[in-house]
Symmetry: C2
Subunit: 400 residues, 2 copies
């Protein structure tokens, strides 16, 4: 239904457009006076006032009361403005991650802050898609009051799967699912009004990692999440690049050369499994954990450092190749294995430089260590983002 051409404009659509812009500006800035908003949107103060008046009666924004708590850092002359903020619990978004071993559920409010988070063990491959969705969605709704459900404005679902453009799961090898429409399954347990979105777990992670942090900056960002598997996502100016089959950014299966001459998948070299296998073999400690390994690297134990060097070389090669193609502004690493980064960041950049021609600019490589990352959070962010866009169904409801 969404036209390719820019379909803007009608007398009332303008207001909707500006209200959305106002909400987005408030989301970014946390708090803004009416005059600030007018400047940010190139609007007249008068119009700005009308807009926030309408948003106030809608219950989405409010004047901040504890104005005094912010001691007016830039104390300029003139009457101070009253700060406006989003009402955090005006609406509610749920993000669900169905993994191979667990289900994680996250709730966020209009401000994007996490209101609740829960993880439970779950044997994914043992369940059908229908069972898993029923269990996950009903579980997510269980501790919600009727008023909460009234405020529910979106449910996002993240799974380790390959999706079609229409949102159906084409293939989820780790879960054994195939050709199922998770949206339709989930909608059975939700009010019809509530929008549902499904996304690949790596892509959802990328959205989440780029949504709250300071990486919200524009440009091209490559997110790489490293656990037992290695996935990734590309975010361009705050928008996810999905690609033709939702697989953009999946660098885990890039071929990289190894010492023995054979080419192997990146994820087979830098994934958690490979690292631990090597480390356990080297040390003989069959129960050694990632934390043990990290501690050894920090202490510069030779075996551990050698493994970290392999890791850095393989990852550096893959990232350098990727830079050739998308030329990112920054690369953000996440997942448990990424904790290696601060220990050998200089080796990684050295290997990247090495795999690249001299003079080719390289992006910064950052570690994402935020607590509220994870693809469940990202799935919730997707719907938060949708709500703060023209696709929001705050408008479709009006003809009632």
């Amino acid at each position: 239904m969404k036209d390719t051409s820019l379909v803007a404009s009608s007398p009332r659509r303008i207001r909707q457009n500006n209200e959305i812009a106002a909400l987005q500006a408030l989301h970014r800035a946390k708090r803004l006076s009416r005059a600030d908003l007018a400047r940010a949107l190139n609007l007249n103060r008068s119009s700005s006032g009308h807009i926030i008046a309408e948003l106030t009666v809608a219950g989405l924004v409010r004047e901040m009361e504890d104005d005094r708590s912010f001691p007016r850092e830039h104390a300029r002359a003139g009457r101070p403005g009253v700060m406006i903020e989003l009402v955090p619990d005006a609406v509610l978004f749920i993000g669900i991650e169905i993994g191979v071993e667990h289900i994680t559920t996250v709730r966020i409010g209009l401000s994007g802050a996490v209101a609740h988070s829960r993880t439970e063990p779950f044997d994914g491959p043992a369940h059908s898609a229908a069972d898993a969705i029923r269990h996950a969605v009903k579980g997510a709704l269980a501790d919600l009051s009727p008023e909460d459900i009234e405020r529910l404005e979106g449910v996002g679902i993240s799974t380790p799967s390959q999706l079609r453009p229409d949102g159906t799961v084409h293939l989820a090898p780790l879960l054994g699912w195939k050709n199922v429409n998770l949206s339709d399954l989930a909608r059975q347990y939700l009010p019809g009004r509530v929008p549902v979105m499904v996304e690949n777990d790596a892509n959802a992670f990328a959205i989440g990692a780029g949504y709250s942090g300071l990486e919200m900056a524009g440009g091209v960002t490559l997110f790489v999440v490293m656990e037992s598997g290695v996935g990734g996502g590309i975010v361009i100016d705050g928008k996810l690049l999905r690609g033709a089959h939702g697989l953009a950014g999946e660098i885990g299966h890039m071929l990289i050369p190894t010492e023995d001459g054979a080419a192997r998948n990146l994820e087979e070299v830098v994934g958690l499994g490979s690292i631990l296998t090597l480390y356990r073999k080297q040390t003989g400690r069959r129960e050694a954990s990632l934390e043990d390994f990290l501690a050894d690297v920090e202490d510069r134990a030779p075996e551990a450092v050698a493994i970290a060097e392999i890791w850095a070389k393989a990852l550096g090669h893959a990232l350098a190749q990727t830079c050739r193609i998308i030329d990112p502004d920054r690369i953000v690493l996440g997942g448990s294995v990424a904790k290696l980064l601060p220990l050998i960041a200089s080796r990684l950049t050295a290997h990247m430089k090495n795999a690249q021609e001299p003079g080719f600019p390289l992006p910064v490589v950052l570690l994402n260590a935020e607590a509220n990352s994870g693809s469940a959070y990202g799935a919730a962010c997707m719907l938060h983002q949708r709500y703060l866009s023209l696709e929001s169904n705050r408008f479709a409801d009006e003809p009632a």
Copy 2:
């Protein structure tokens, strides 16, 4: 100056927005009646009429006279609409490609069709940037009447160089340039009103190849241009992905494994130089041309086929790796070497499948054989695209 937030809408901006949408729709559809336009833009017929009235007095569109020449293919009941079209020579855009050996100049009109094209030999490395720009721009303006210059709405410049985000040349190794602002140089010879844009030649080619053809479709398209060098560009939903340093899509320097175990640049294997060197060595004909080689491949001469096989394998590997990262909907090959594609397309796809895991979807690989490709054309298209967008300075002029 361009805010990151969506700054739409004021009472008059709406009209500008809709006029632009109308021009874009007319550009895509070639001809549209007022009622067609109203449907395309979700507008009322009345508003549509007002808009094209305003565009008509501005001289940008007109009613088609030879209405009869189109024998009404879908003869439905009802009064037939009068078709509206863009006035091709209402405005003028110039694209200039400064290469290592030649300068190409292209003029296009509002409809995007090429009005004029000229190529002259030019020894790029022998000239400073200032000299080259002066020569190229003055040459491009030489055969223009004063009225033409009045209608000039943009000049695009394409060079084999690495650009900074602000449009200055960071480094142009083939030309020996460094740290020059080509826009500023070019503006000296142009009316101040005329916008100037500078772009990498591979990116400009990508824009041009995706602008007129049917590849104008949405989604992700990877364009690869293969001459002596191998460059490329990525177009997402009609917009160029530049990347942090304008180097996105430059797959020519990807490392690929070769038979002898050493990794080499893609462009050193599949570029024109490598192919001809191999072919000349194999056949002993030191003056053999690319056409000779292509003819031999078509005749299935064993030496030629073997070289083509190397080409297909290397290219297939690189494209497969690229698909892992950006998951394109389609790949379009251009440049003289791309003529190999139709001869061994099946081998290329076989190698791509081979370098990819089973089940991973692969995009179609197409050949761009259009006459009006080339980065000069693409550079002109950039300005055409800009004119049909909100950045157009049709609006900035008004306060006069």
